[in-house]
Symmetry: C2
Amino acid sequence: MHHAIDESHDPNLKSWVESANDETTDFPLQNLPFGVFHTDDEEEGDGRIGMAIGDRVVDLLELCEAGAFDDLDDEENPIDEDLDAPALSILLMSGRERWGGIRDRVRELLTHGNDELAGEKELLEAALLPMQDCRMLVPGEVGDYTDFYASVHHATNVGSMFRPDNPLLPNYKWIPIGYHGRASSLVASGSEIRRPCGQTRPDENAPPVYGPCKLLDYELEVGCMMGPANERGSRLPIERAEEAIFGICLVNDWSARDMQKWEYQPLGPFLAKSFATTVSPWVVPIEALAPFRTPAFVRPEGDPQPLDYLDSKHNRESGGIDITLEVLIASKQMRDKGIAPVRVSVGSFKHMYWTFAQMLTHHASNGCNMEAGDLIASGTVSGPEKESRGCLLEMTWDGPGKPRKPIELPTGETRTFLEDHDEVILKGWCEREGYRRIGFGVCDGVILPART
Amino acid sequence: MHHAIDESHDPNLKSWVESANDETTDFPLQNLPFGVFHTDDEEEGDGRIGMAIGDRVVDLLELCEAGAFDDLDDEENPIDEDLDAPALSILLMSGRERWGGIRDRVRELLTHGNDELAGEKELLEAALLPMQDCRMLVPGEVGDYTDFYASVHHATNVGSMFRPDNPLLPNYKWIPIGYHGRASSLVASGSEIRRPCGQTRPDENAPPVYGPCKLLDYELEVGCMMGPANERGSRLPIERAEEAIFGICLVNDWSARDMQKWEYQPLGPFLAKSFATTVSPWVVPIEALAPFRTPAFVRPEGDPQPLDYLDSKHNRESGGIDITLEVLIASKQMRDKGIAPVRVSVGSFKHMYWTFAQMLTHHASNGCNMEAGDLIASGTVSGPEKESRGCLLEMTWDGPGKPRKPIELPTGETRTFLEDHDEVILKGWCEREGYRRIGFGVCDGVILPART
């Protein structure tokens, strides 16, 4: 199954929710991403499934209780149980027919001219909440979180710093390299990020020390949330890998570079990453991205072609996604002075060496069972140009042997790595002539000082 | 809180369940480990919490419903909800007072001379099930699974093979090295293990290939299941780390060595491990192991002492545990001929370079939140002698540059790595003069041929 362009992508489709028709919104009727929310006056335990439309959150449980989804319901697997949950996982387990059906029905209800809800003043008030009054949670209850390393630009840059003689290891162009991440410390956008303490060895001739991380970084990544995938012992052929994708979100894989450098051999990054990973609140269904699919990375001459199990015509032709990705930073001084966050980098997800289909197929190629709600992140998205590097480690790197070149903020402050109270904002969106803009909202976090 | 020897360890404590008084049982009244089970005629969804005593499984939910735990109950957090669950996690979230109280009460009920259940024929039949009629499940619903690398003997042996020039990396003696494992593919003892397929590069001058793993191995490990631990952003000081331990079990971290060798740089093992990890069914409460505590590994002269955050008097004096660990193998030919499984290795957990308290403290030292139900494995337990090496990679290694030396089975068959239909059985037990033997049961798996 390949997600094709159809009438749901028609740019002329308008909603009676006026803010959804604004050209600049992330959330037109063509998007309808899922998330988990509660209102400001509720508790975290009241989290339930919502959908974004313009500047509103659709409370799907309210619509459900009003009978909006009766035609999709099923006694053995009631829709309200899928929606009255503090995570998308239960809905995701129910499969694409269920979540796709809900999305189609909401699109129908919200389309300009549909008057099913027109007279229902009370229901409208309860079911179409102002986004600013809603608090968004981590969208999944993520069973397993995997982080890949799929940008060859990132791998080459970082490899040049950590292993100057040997930047890109021999397996890189054959294997979508990845590792297991920590699921417990996935946090919602807006969560404060405590600067971690950890063991580092700043002086190779002295013992290591334990203390606050000095080289704190963000990593701009794209995440893929899974629907039902494969049983343990079976695989996920590349032709069918996209069937297992529910949707796409943004991920900030905060990284303590000094801890990472000291700890990562031979078993990979561990505490340098596991203190927190921020996930954007809205998961954009993969179907909504059909107009923005691009060919997979075209390998330069001399690079090997992927082995058969990682190769398909569809993947070559449209395995990529052109998502524009932007990182912005605001220091405390900037916020205090009312200066808007400043762009640090901008690039596109289309430059990744490996596609999500390849990552998923490889992940399941040993019979590892992938489950609904799993989060698969791409690894840092860095493009070929300097301005599209997805972390400060790369952004302030000026070449082998040279001192780091800090970035300048509008206040005159400089940053080589993150300082306390810095805010990092990731944004992502898809644009293409003839289609509505599809946005991912923001993935946001502020650094708190280390606990001493 | 340090788990002290008290009257619950008195070897003279007998049960009216006669099989519990057998000197050879793993499960005397002094043990009382928790597990998740259903009877043979029930479904997996009927899993609930049980306790092992001699050759019986105590159905704790039955006892609960008969009122046995009324004095421990709490309207806001009912015991039956902790027990009527297909995983220990909910009970573990309730904390030590809850699970310790249940264990104390069961000990009281089952002690020789206690006649509270004497007249209750029907209840006894329902609540004391023959172990052979019970099917054991993965004990936790493990949120995160972490695998350490805490045996210096293992790290040195493996390092010598993978990096002959550089076997033990400079961080090893400073950091309890670990990595995140895959939680979804944790399986119960007795589950069949499908030989994985994967990418390997047997010939460095030719492209890699995708196909069945040729170097399949077991890894003998000890697991630690967590109770409530630390909030995100806070730590777990070493003096309090053992408070966060619920209990100890056995783990077989099946490993595809050819896949591991090709994939593991720079981010660590991934698909070489994530196809399956077997967990023993019974989690032995840490309190039951008090008589078997040993000093932490005494570092030879020249080794650095642990940094302060990884050091405490209690840990130095009794951070270790003397668990005898044994690996047995039975080939299909052996089973067909009625030949008993043969011992491949035997050693003790007391030789580990890092203790569980150090592993947990390090894990949380960056503010990573550890959660009830998390599983922390030790890494392969190899001791100083050749017969105590915990995997075939080490066991059949005859030194640098030499050809592998296969082990011989009683049938005349030989094994360098595992063959299809081989059964691997891990066993563990604690023994000490003046105390009852405390056993861990078995952690068992049979290899199935790869799917082609």
